[in-house]
């Protein structure tokens, strides 16, 4: 599903990714851990074409986002990016839209879902994330954990083939964290591949098929943990 080879990225003089190799199977849930500043966020952003890398190959679902340092054409990029979902460390909710509007924006505008259907599905997601009461609130009225759940809901509503989470449970209590793990697991059974950055080892072990560790821009441990399902 996802194949990364020799990925390098620098900010100015500092090389943040120093040749990352990574493979993810369809339906697999891969958790990336590692010390702060190790390059996890940068890696995820690179997969989403939010950072331009200096060298390497990124292949997603058989299409090359980047091939040996050369990026795909604009049209291809657009197609590839449609398959990927992302939950940011900083959420990036749209402040001028209510919770519901945030969630249905992409399904209705990008995938042309009928509005009523999109709302129905959004409400379902909000339901099992415990946010039903907040569907008409604006982001500034939400607590940290509520914002985070809206960000998750917004990404889930896209039904992407590859989902990337950057610390999705940092502001969530253990009960909600379990809930999120369950949702991800059930979606992966329907074929969604998932990349998760987290510091929460409990959550990691609950959700992951495999856990790898990245430090100082390089994958240092490819098999910290393996639940054995996929292998």
């Amino acid at each position: 599903m996802l194949k990364i080879q020799g990925l390098r990225k620098s900010f100015g003089d500092i090389e943040v990714l120093k040749g990352v190799n990574l493979e993810l199977k369809t339906g697999e849930i891969l958790v990336i851990v590692g010390p702060s500043g190790g390059g996890k966020t940068t890696l995820l952003r690179s997969i989403n074409y939010l950072e331009k890398c200096n060298a390497g190959t990124i292949e997603i679902d058989g299409k090359y986002l980047m091939h040996e340092g050369v990026y795909a054409s604009k049209g291809e990029l657009k197609e590839i990016r449609k398959m990927i979902g992302m939950v940011f460390q900083g959420f990036n909710l749209f402040p001028h839209m209510s919770v519901l509007e945030n969630i249905i924006e992409a399904p209705t505008r990008v995938f042309g879902k009928p509005k009523a259907k999109a709302i129905k599905e959004a409400q379902d997601i909000l339901g099992f994330l415990g946010l039903t009461e907040k569907e008409n609130s604006y982001p500034f009225e939400l607590s940290g954990g509520q914002k985070q759940r809206v960000a998750i809901a917004r990404a889930l509503a896209l039904e992407p083939k590859l989902m990337c989470f950057d610390e999705p449970t940092s502001a969530l209590d253990p009960a909600l964290t379990d809930e999120v793990a369950k949702v991800i697991k059930s979606l992966s059974q329907k074929g969604m591949s998932t990349l998760i950055i987290t510091h929460d080892m409990e959550f990691a072990k609950k959700a992951a098929d495999r856990i790898i560790s990245i430090d100082n821009g390089i994958i240092i441990d490819d098999h910290i943990y393996d639940n054995g399902i996929n292998d």
Partner: protein
């Protein structure tokens, strides 16, 4: 002009002329606003375009428009263009110059507003797969709009007062009426009256702007 009584008599006498001037002022004001705001949005987009040429042309346009006095621009449109065979009517010349000029100012305001939106918002829209058009019109522009309301309000108030420049074309706007009466009667009273009219006008406009700003306060 003795005391308060004299003021009211004088005021009543002057009113019809002042109203006439007000109509001219408001016409220039209204039409300029209607035309220059959309122009400003278009130029702002050009300014933000990734095509170097468009970027460059709109940049020069803005610099010229903001770099030279509006009065001169009106003179060039009205007295200069006929020399190369383009003749505008009095009112259309004024409107044309005002629209070009204010379009440039609004463009700069919109550009700054759009620039001020956090990159996280673009990234959020991008990973959702929103098209550049949707990203702009549904995510970025609505948020930018809220931020540009105060500077747009400033510009609107300035426009009311800038309309006075059409005196150069022989149009009898508010301030000219006041100056003529002041000179004729050798008193500052007409100018006081005109100043009050401007004050009322700008007061109403800023109230309207405040209303619109309040409407946008539903989020932070």
């Amino acid at each position: 002009m003795n005391g308060i009584m004299g003021f009211f008599e004088y005021f009543t006498m002057l009113m019809p002329q002042v109203l006439h001037g007000l109509v001219v002022t408001m016409q220039i004001f209204g039409f300029t606003l209607i035309l220059s705001i959309p122009l400003g949005v278009i130029i702002a987009l050009g300014r933000l375009s990734k095509y170097k040429v468009i970027n460059w042309i709109t940049g020069i346009y803005i610099n010229i428009m903001r770099g030279t006095p509006l009065l001169l621009q009106i003179v060039f449109v009205f007295f200069g263009l006929p020399l190369i065979g383009i003749t505008f009517g009095r009112f259309s010349a004024a409107l044309f110059a005002f629209t070009l000029n204010y379009g440039a100012y609004f463009a700069e305001i919109f550009r700054a507003g759009i620039d001020s939106i956090d990159t996280g918002q673009y990234e959020g829209a991008e990973v959702l797969g929103l098209s550049p058009k949707d990203t702009f019109f549904r995510i970025i522009f609505p948020q930018a709009l809220k931020r540009v309301l105060p500077p747009v309000g400033n510009e609107v108030v300035t426009l009311v007062k800038d309309t006075a420049l059409v005196y150069i074309l022989g149009l009898d706007e508010l301030l000219k009426i006041g100056k003529i009466a002041s000179n004729r009667d050798a008193t500052l009273m007409p100018l006081v009256i005109v100043a009050l009219v401007y004050l009322v006008l700008t007061y109403i406009l800023s109230k309207i702007m405040t209303c619109i700003e309040t409407k946008y306060n539903y989020y932070r």
